[in-house]
Symmetry: C2
Subunit: 276 residues, 2 copies
């Protein structure tokens, strides 16, 4: 983490930030958050992230004492104070101290700046492996801190050569633990419609690719797709070349995936120049 | 909460206890805990709770720097310091500060003493209502802090006259959000076998009732059962007289439920006297 954070109404040293252990954010895993990147010191797609964060708070019944405009000011101040370049900003709103240790209350807002390194060049050029897991996230549209299952499973990923999981339920694919999933088959790009977090990177990819079909996708379909990729804030577009024991397509990142990866990077660059 | 707690290796004022907000206990909801009652100042079934807590830590890949014996000493010291009588003790082990903000690391241990009031006499005499919810907890045998869904849903329970939920998945009942479920039909007591936390109160009830059948139980079976009840540390045995819109049995706590409720209280009393 970077030296300064925003904690409970003020910018302080990050190492001095504290949350009370009886906050239901800790004892019940009840909190919401969001995370965006900066290109140089400039937040990428900040409007989208602030809208999702404030919507998450509202949907989760958590009062947020700051408007989107307030948050934007705090963010710019914090980025400047930390001299953050090409990093990440994490916003957390806890569930608060609850009278019955359970019902959502009124929590604390924290913002941290973090150094961020994108995945290795090798992962982008070779693609990565996902492990199918039967699971569906509860209240998936709200960006909660509910990652108990994938954190638990992540201990075994290195020994299995896996980057992450791919969730499926009743035969349908939803998402990876922190990424959205796309499939390319016969030139048509599609992405799951339900039980997903509506990713900002997913949204941008759908703007770039124009004709993405949003529908239910079966696990057995995706296993025989020509190309599969996942999208997330910290990965942009990452080719998936293996799911479980199944090699996807040629086993290499496909043409449409590679083309979208380039288009996404170009969009980022153009936004950077337009903001200078 | 009571005035003193155990936080990161020492007994301090509870209000001064702190956890770092970047602990994955908060940002990923990755932590384990346990909770037991005291009868007077005496912990009830402490051996069982300490065994489950240390097992949860181990299963969740979280190092715990204290043995069961260490924990027992700390607990007795903390109860005495707080002059706790008929209260609750919460033990929390966080996931720690993780290099990748995700993989289980080495966290902090917290113990809090809390005042505890059992549910109202009216709830025990009339029984309560549960709402069926299609859900199954991930890694259910580990007592994680993963309560995102029921905390979210709990906002609507008062207006629905409900005490809690009853989880079912693929037609099978598992548990309530913080309680185990039992059913009585034609004089036979049974309880779900899978996708459950193995409750200490559940275990004690199975010792008292001797011939409880542990098997898969369908939601449609339980809806037409003669009696249903739930068990938990903070409730002991609570009659369930309504599930969704369905009245259970006569709509009043059944004979076997009432008889077990009395037997459980007697067991508690006898343990108290034997410890004096």
């Amino acid at each position: 983490m970077k030296p300064f954070c925003f904690a409970k109404d003020e910018i302080i040293e990050s190492k001095l930030a504290t949350s009370h252990p009886l906050d239901i954010g800790l004892i019940r895993g009840y909190a919401i958050f969001d995370f965006f990147r900066t290109v140089g010191p400039n937040p990428l797609f900040l409007e989208d992230y602030l809208l999702r964060f404030t919507n998450s708070a509202k949907s989760a019944h958590l009062p947020l004492a700051y408007s989107k405009e307030d948050l934007e000011q705090i963010i710019h101040k914090l980025i400047a104070k930390n001299e953050l370049e090409n990093g990440g900003v994490r916003m957390i709103l806890t569930g608060g101290i609850s009278d019955n240790f359970f019902t959502p209350a009124s929590g604390d807002l924290f913002l941290f700046c973090e150094p961020l390194s994108l995945p290795s060049e090798e992962k982008y050029s070779k693609g990565v492996k996902l492990l199918p897991v039967e699971y569906v996230r509860p209240i998936p549209k709200i960006k909660t801190t509910n990652y108990t299952l994938p954190c638990f499973l992540s201990v075994d990923w290195p020994s299995q050569g896996a980057e992450d999981v791919i969730y499926h339920h009743q035969g349908l694919v939803s998402e990876s633990s922190r990424s959205n999933i796309f499939m390319v088959n016969d030139g048509i790009i599609s992405t799951p419609a339900t039980h997903i977090l509506e990713g900002i990177t997913r949204k941008k990819v759908m703007e770039l690719a124009a004709n993405v079909i949003v529908r239910d996708i079966r696990l057995d379909e995706i296993l025989v797709a020509d190309e599969v990729f996942m999208t997330s804030t910290t990965k942009r577009i990452m080719p998936i070349t293996t799911i479980g024991n199944q090699v996807i397509g040629t086993g290499k990142p496909g043409d449409q995936t590679v083309s979208l990866m380039a288009a996404f990077e170009n969009m980022e660059k153009s936004l950077l120049f337009s903001s200078l």
